[in-house]
Amino acid sequence: MSKRQQLLYLFVIFTLMIAVAGCGSGGDSSETETSDKAVIQNAGSDTMVNLAQAWAEEYANVQPTVSVEVSGGGSGTGIAALINGTVDIANCSRQMKASEIERAKANTGKTPVELIVGYDALAVYVHEENPMNEISIEQLANIYGEGGNITKWSQLGISHSTCSGDEVIRISRQSNSGTYHYFREALLGNTADFKLGSRDLHGSKDVVELVEKTPCAIGYSGMGYRTDHVKVLDVAKKAGEQAFSPNVDNALSGDYPIARPLYIYSLGEATGKAKEYLDWILSAAGQKIVSANGYVPLETGAPMTESSDSSN
């Protein structure tokens, strides 16, 4: 009796699994079978994954014969996939390193071509009950950087009553994400490191979610991940100077100090369908999606386009 019952349960579970698996693969195959679509493989930056997904979805309406498959994983993952030839274009929230370009040349014989597709302002998030409204780069460096001496909210001149113990809980990212690299460089330049002991989360969205639920926390993430339940601080270049909030205008004017370009890399000049896709991303229709997702669209003559020249 008992064995039979167990077997019965196992059987039910297996049937369910097979049914579910069957549905999934059935859906997939019908998609690929009904049309002979050209597929553009796209992977990379976790910061840009929502944006890339939105582009891909909209492009399916514009150009039904082309399907763009997007995955995240991080800037480094995207570049590794590009070098290995498993993706056509890679999203990147930092510039490719010289060593990576060398490796791409050695592996594929082609030089990666850089394209700036938009800008992102890194927002500094705190809990919504945190009374703080603005912060300076210096203060952030003292919170996050090695040798920095700020560990309590009271040292920043505020009394944070909902945070028991007054400790500043630093939320960071895993040490090889593009966002981490950019934030470290913006705060500390090229030589110093972050203090150990920060909570290093694995995704842009996780950072915001954790800050939402943790009164003592401070964290950083792309401004596209803002929700209604966290507070975004205004950031000043230096203590005493005017602080600016992370928005499109301030990022484009250069007033907001921690804004960065977002890149897409291809191996050699993109050709064919991939080129059409990239051209569409740079067009007004593609750039509208950039702003709809909370990022900063390209604008001709903006002060931050200095490195876009090198891509052409």
Binding site: S2, Q5, Q6, Y9, G73, G74, S75, G76, T77, A80, S99, E100, R103, C163, S164, G165, E167, I169, Q174, S175, N176, S177, Y180, H181, N190, T191, A192, D193, L196, G197, S198, R199, D200, L201, H202, D206, E209, L210, K213, T214, P215, C216, A217
Partner: protein, 297 residues
């Protein structure tokens, strides 16, 4: 038997061959994995890595621009603290549940229990991690007035919940394997139920129960996704159970994806893999010796 046809003897031999291959393949795979992990990490292990510093320094700065430092002491402490806490919770609960299921409850309740426990084992680790990150974080902040809920405590409780099913099912099997004649003899001598368990069953099932606990420890040391999400992933020595830590496994999971293939950082992550291999090897070896020691008494 004598008139066995030729076909039968051929199929017999083929099937024997297949079964033999299955047996040897386990060994092959283990050595294959060990070889691969070792090969990926060996270059840096023998030239470049300061092994003393690797094992004794708590400074883990794999992507520093100016001064890369690879020290895993804090990560070791993280793995040890989370595993110890989870075992402190899981062993009494798991063994207690095993004793209850095997000795006290009726057949109907027993079936229900076993199915529920197996369901507990079927929950994927990423779901446990998600519970740790979203539910337990808030609960721990509220209950303990802690600044953050992603702590040793959070990871320990989640790992305990994950290893309890293993401890219960293997522990229950071990107790079931104790012959009924032992129980009957003890009861005939006038032993109470507690005395039967404490004086007869536990000593008789010692090996199996130890195996259950060690497999639970193995589960806890090797678990990755759940601890990555629940412990806060923070490189520091825990001073109490409300500190965040980072474990060896979580470090590999978080950083391997983006470490450039073949770089020092990539190789160090494989060396951590070798270290984990060594730890589990020592645990298994120790348990073998302990079990043998018990048997020889």
């Amino acid at each position: 038997m004598i008139n066995r046809s030729r076909l039968e003897s051929v199929t017999e031999r083929i099937i024997e061959g297949i079964i033999r291959f299955c047996g040897f393949s386990a060994i092959l795979f283990v050595f294959g994995i060990f070889f691969f992990v070792f090969r990926e990490g060996s270059g840096f292990l023998f030239s470049g890595l300061d092994i003393g510093q690797f094992l004794t320094s708590p400074e883990w700065f794999p992507t520093s621009v100016s001064n890369k430092r690879y020290g895993v002491l804090a990560l070791l402490a993280g793995t040890a603290s989370v595993t110890a806490l989870s075992m402190a919770i899981a062993v009494p609960f798991g063994l207690g549940a095993a004793i209850f299921v095997s000795e006290f409850c009726g057949p109907k309740l027993k079936e229900t229990f076993k199915i529920v426990i197996e369901l507990l084992a079927a929950i994927p680790s990423v779901v446990w991690g998600f519970i740790g990150l979203t539910v337990m974080n808030g609960v721990i902040i509220d209950l303990f007035d802690a600044p953050i809920g992603l702590t040793v405590l959070n990871g320990g409780i989640i790992l305990a919940l994950m290893s309890v099913p293993i401890i219960v099912s293997i522990g229950e099997d071990a107790l079931k394997a104790v012959p009924d004649s032992y129980r009957e003899a003890a009861e005939a001598l006038g032993a109470t139920r507690w005395q039967v368990i404490y004086r007869v069953l536990l000593p008789a099932g010692k090996n199996g129960l130890l195996a259950a606990v060690l497999l639970g420890i193995g589960r806890a040391v090797g678990e990755t996704m759940a601890v990555l999400m629940a412990t806060g992933h923070s490189v520091q020595f825990p001073s109490n159970i409300l500190d965040s830590v980072r474990t060896l496994t979580a470090t590999i999971a978080a950083e391997l994806g983006e470490a450039p293939v073949g770089s020092d950082h990539y190789q160090v992550l494989f060396i951590i893999g070798i270290l984990l291999f060594t730890i589990t090897f020592i645990v298994n070896l120790a348990s073998d010796l302990v079990v043998k020691g018990i048997r020889n008494k």
